[in-house]
Symmetry: C2
Subunit: 343 residues, 2 copies
């Protein structure tokens, strides 16, 4: 009988232990599915507790006029990913426009192809046999920000998404505010201008008609027609104006572009000052296309907010950029709902 | 030996039992002290779990420039009442302008005689040897409304006090919103008019400069100077105008008084519509002097609110009068903090 070299045996055993542990960890790790339903596409992914996206995919939302054909394609794309990963899938979180947490439905979403009330949570539960939670996309983003992003550790903050519209997720005492009916946090539809710009909601002067990527473009067009100042945008077709383009030209020093951003920041800053009077948050987290304008937008917004808030809050409330990547954030936010369900 | 009448013995024993039970109930009943610190007077009372005020009293706030002389007089007036009642005093709840729940202090209250930061909770704890909780007067009123009043059973509502100013207490998921710093819920200082009326806070256009008893009087004065319409108030001195008087004349049909209330309701209704977009409450509860104008104020306020809110909330959010009596409400609200502490 060969007596083994003791050191070698110890080395092998130690590594076998580490390997076994890792296999166990991977097999036992808790995972969540995040589904972000947008007007154009639906993105989905499988995320671990640390916010790493292990698998992801995408299908078209817009091509499915029929909800069953939509959920079938989604199931066929997502289920194989679920089968591939090692670990325990704890549930599915869904972020969608007009997603109602209480009812598990999507209700009359103007930017989605399906009419009326869609019982999405029940459909997914039946298909996947997993716990499912839904909320609106902005609330999902707030949960993601709290779980994985800039707002980690914060109990009171407001997440503002400056995209095509203005979405918001309000967190108070560590919980997303859903309100009596599940639809709270529609800060894009606070009316900030009497007889102001017409809004998709049918009313006038809503915050999102000014403070959003679309709002900035509208402001730029107004300035181009009102003023005679030289501006690079006089030489491109009106319909090619984008908020990204405006931010880029402002950074290069275009006066009218700077003015357009300042106008936007003024309205946004004053609105934030009013929101502080409501919930006295620790911070606002800005996210979305327009937020990527960076200091150009943040500095004047912070200035106007502090000029317009009560003395007790001057220079005390932070305005911070989200640190989640635009691609991941929606899926991460939706998936984070799953951890919330369990707590 | 006389054999007692069995029925009589049973009767006596039963009644002795009931009497003993009642004595036990009274001796063991849980009571709370409520202290409402106002700019002029401080009212206090001892309240049972059902909201019955067993004892109450009052001292002057305004005459005490020194906090120690104030707390001494309060102690000397309140302690004998505590000794008189039967039952267990569970604690003291205090409602005060700028009362900070987190710090247990009153901070820079413009309408109170003491400057700077007053550590009132610590002072009372030492004096009375009881648990003490403080919050601002409007938050205390909201807790009172939730515990004993119109909002009983509601988890999401906003209490609005229309007095000299506009105070607010916001309840979300059954908890008063305090915010990151304990000062949340300053809805009177949401700016609703650009370059509007000057406000005591040093800014312009705050909601409370329009929607409050004082605001209504300012509106009436503006209308009297702008318009030539006949009005009963043309014949009384400007400084004798009161919101109560305006409501009374409006009820009698005075056109300008009706217009003044309608103007107030318009601004208030639009502000409520914006607040719905924030927290989607089940109801607004209106309280305070101006709320006593009743339907004259409520009907147009509800109309303007519904005209200005998103479609999903039209005709869904209630606007209700408080059903607590003006005298009791402040004490009840402050005392209700004690039950909140224990839950």
């Amino acid at each position: 009988m060969i007596i083994p070299n003791t050191e070698r045996v110890t080395f092998i055993l130690t590594n076998l232990n580490i390997l076994t542990d890792n296999i166990h960890r991977i097999m036992n790790q808790q995972l969540a599915v995040g589904i972000d339903i947008g007007g154009t596409n639906t993105a989905f992914g499988i995320v671990d507790r640390r916010g790493n996206t292990l698998k992801q995919g995408k299908i078209s939302t817009t091509k499915h006029k029929d909800i069953t054909s939509y959920t079938d394609e989604l199931y066929n794309a997502l289920e194989p990913l679920i089968d591939e990963v090692s670990g325990e899938i704890k549930g599915i979180g869904v972020g969608a426009p007009n997603g109602n947490f209480y009812d598990g439905t999507i209700e009359f979403a103007p930017n989605l192809p399906w009419e009326g009330v869609i019982p999405l949570v029940n459909i997914f539960k039946e298909q996947f046999g997993l716990p499912v939670q839904i909320t609106n996309d902005a609330n999902a983003a707030a949960v993601g920000e709290m779980t994985y992003g800039t707002a980690k550790g914060m109990k009171n903050f407001i997440m503002i998404t400056l995209g095509t519209g203005l979405g918001s997720g309000i967190v108070i005492n560590g919980n997303v505010v859903l309100g009596h009916d599940g639809f709270a946090g529609e800060l894009g539809h606070v009316i900030v201008e009497k007889e102001g710009r017409s809004c998709g909601c049918g009313r006038y002067g809503c915050l999102e008609t000014y403070a959003s990527a679309t709002g900035l473009v509208r402001t730029m067009k107004e300035l181009l027609s009102e003023k005679k100042t030289d501006c690079v945008f006089r030489n491109i077709p009106y319909e090619e104006l984008t908020s990204k383009g405006i931010a880029e030209e402002a950074a290069k020093g275009d006066q009218l572009a700077i003015e357009a951003i300042d106008f936007t920041a003024n309205i946004l800053g004053k609105a934030l000052a009013n929101f502080i009077a409501f919930s006295a948050p620790e911070a606002f987290i800005l996210f979305g296309g327009l937020a990527r304008a960076g200091d150009l937008l943040f500095n004047p917004t912070i200035k106007y907010m502090n000029e317009n808030t009560l003395k007790i809050w001057k220079n005390k409330v932070k305005v911070l950029p989200s640190d989640l990547s635009a691609n991941d954030a929606a899926i991460l936010g939706a998936s984070a709902l799953v951890w919330e369900m369990q707590s």
